[in-house]
């Protein structure tokens, strides 16, 4: 199984090391998106810089764009970032939970799940969310209008429950990502994302909408979401 890892490191004091020995042995290409100084880069790692646009989604789009343009083939794409969610007191807990899929304890389970033909996404089970309210036909979020706009624009057909991975730390099949982003260039999408530390507390944002869209790009291909 050829695995590509897109790792976004934003914080200067980030001490987490997602890239464990076990993961290192499995990954065939690692894209590290960061503006921080990086040491001990192995031959599999490519470092890319970023601007402060689109938060972790913007950085992940830079990584996806690089993988597509350099035309390497993979089976699975794993996306992680040094999530802190400073706006929430539960930020650290969220981060730890979400990142467990790349930890040594759960990695074998993750690999096993990703080998299944129908599984499109594998993530921490607590973070599979659905905001769609069937009776009203609306998303129960301030991003509702933007989500409808994007679904229509990109002609997505997600599962009826509109499940997505909150936090955007997950592993997924590479093929649907590649097909979608070849037709819809990641840097064109990135242009539409907001600058700076945008929040979606009061007003919807394209950045937070793409957090949901990234999952739907995969589930639109008929794949399921597996929680571990």
């Amino acid at each position: 199984m050829r695995i590509a890892l897109i790792e976004y490191r934003y914080y200067a004091d980030s001490t987490e090391d997602f890239y464990t020995e076990q993961l290192r042995n499995l990954v065939s290409r690692r894209i590290l998106v960061t503006n921080q100084a990086v040491n001990n880069i192995d031959a599999k790692t490519v470092v890319l810089n970023h601007t402060n646009q689109g938060k972790d989604i913007g950085a992940k789009l830079i990584g996806i764009d690089f993988l597509i343009k350099t035309n390497e083939e993979f089976d699975v794409l794993v996306m992680v970032h040094d999530k802190k969610s400073l706006h929430s007191p539960l930020g650290n807990y969220w981060g730890r939970e979400l990142k467990k899929i790349v930890g040594d304890a759960y990695l074998p389970v993750f690999i096993k799940a990703m080998k299944k033909r129908n599984v499109g996404i594998c993530c921490a089970s607590n973070y599979i969310k659905s905001e769609f309210d069937k009776p009203s036909g609306k998303f129960n979020t301030v991003n509702n209008d933007i989500l409808f706009e994007l679904i229509q624009k990109y002609k997505l057909r997600p599962s009826p429950s509109f499940e997505f991975v909150a936090g955007t730390i997950f592993g997924c099949k590479w093929a649907p990502i590649k097909v979608f982003f070849i037709n819809n260039p990641p840097l064109q999408i990135r242009k539409t994302l907001e600058r700076g530390n945008v929040q979606d507390n009061r007003k919807g944002s394209y950045t937070h909408s793409w957090e949901r869209m990234l999952s739907w790009v995969i589930t639109s291909g008929g794949y399921s979401v597996k929680g571990i």
């Binding site: 490519v46 810089n49 242009k191």
Partner: protein, 245 residues
């Protein structure tokens, strides 16, 4: 002599320049996009290159969305000479708004498009190019667009100093200054010691003189005369009378 901050050198001059002037930290290779045969291959190559390699791009191809996207893609490489959200790109003079907008749309807050001046190119010995200075920058940047003459003409080289070379030179002078200050302090201390010695030596001579005078004027007198002198002092009230018990 010219002192610069960054040194941009077009790819075709880079080897020649390094042979003449040596490798400098501030060298940024200026790559013409039209000279990159396969953009994807170049992207992969530069992404895996040494971290010390710095480059910038001369955007001299059709300003299509796709080509501007390639420029943006290159700009995300750590080797692209930039300062976080501040970025610089080179292009022919003219309407470069699309280029600026293309970079700004990806989050660069300060985009500077540099074009060679229509007049005002400089020749410094064997080097042809131009100088420009950004707003708020303390030193100008030098762009080398061409070099001439064979390597043997090294004697014609105009001294060109980078910031780091200037820093090294200043540090050397500072070190020498400190050493000289130290030497001066030691010399002053030694001089002070000599003065003290001289003072003491002179005082000793004076003491000897006084002692000699005392001996000559008083010590040689007979004992009865000295005792009579004491009696006179008591009588005149210059000394109290103390009787031994």
């Amino acid at each position: 002599m010219i002192v610069y901050d960054k040194l941009y050198i077009e790819s075709h001059c880079l080897g020649h320049f390094k042979r003449l002037y040596g490798v400098k930290d501030e060298i940024v290779e200026l790559v013409r996009m039209s000279c990159i045969p396969d953009l994807a291959v170049w992207l992969t190559k530069v992404a895996g290159s040494d971290t010390s390699y710095k480059f910038s791009i001369i955007f001299d191809i059709t300003p299509s969305y796709e080509n501007i996207e390639w420029l943006v893609r290159f700009s995300f490489l750590p080797g692209y000479s930039k300062d976080n959200d501040r970025i610089r790109c080179f292009a022919a003079p003219g309407e470069n708004r699309w280029l600026k907008e293309g970079l700004e749309a990806q989050g660069y807050s300060n985009v500077e498009i540099i074009s060679p001046p229509e007049s005002g190119c400089v020749t410094l010995g064997l080097v042809h190019g131009y100088i420009f200075q950004s707003a708020g920058s303390s030193l100008p940047d030098l762009v080398v667009t061409g070099m001439e003459a064979p390597v043997e003409q090294i004697q014609e080289i105009v001294p060109v100093f980078s910031k780091s070379e200037m820093r090294t030179a200043i540090e050397k002078i500072n070190r020498q200054n400190k050493q000289m200050e130290n030497n001066l302090r030691l010399a002053n201390t030694e001089l002070e010691n000599y003065k003290q010695f001289l003072k003491v030596a002179l005082q000793e001579k004076e003491t000897e003189k006084i002692l000699a005078f005392y001996h000559k004027e008083y010590e040689v007198l007979p004992l009865w005369f000295k005792r009579l002198g004491h009696v006179v002092k008591i009588v005149t009230g210059h000394r109290p009378l103390r009787l031994k018990r």
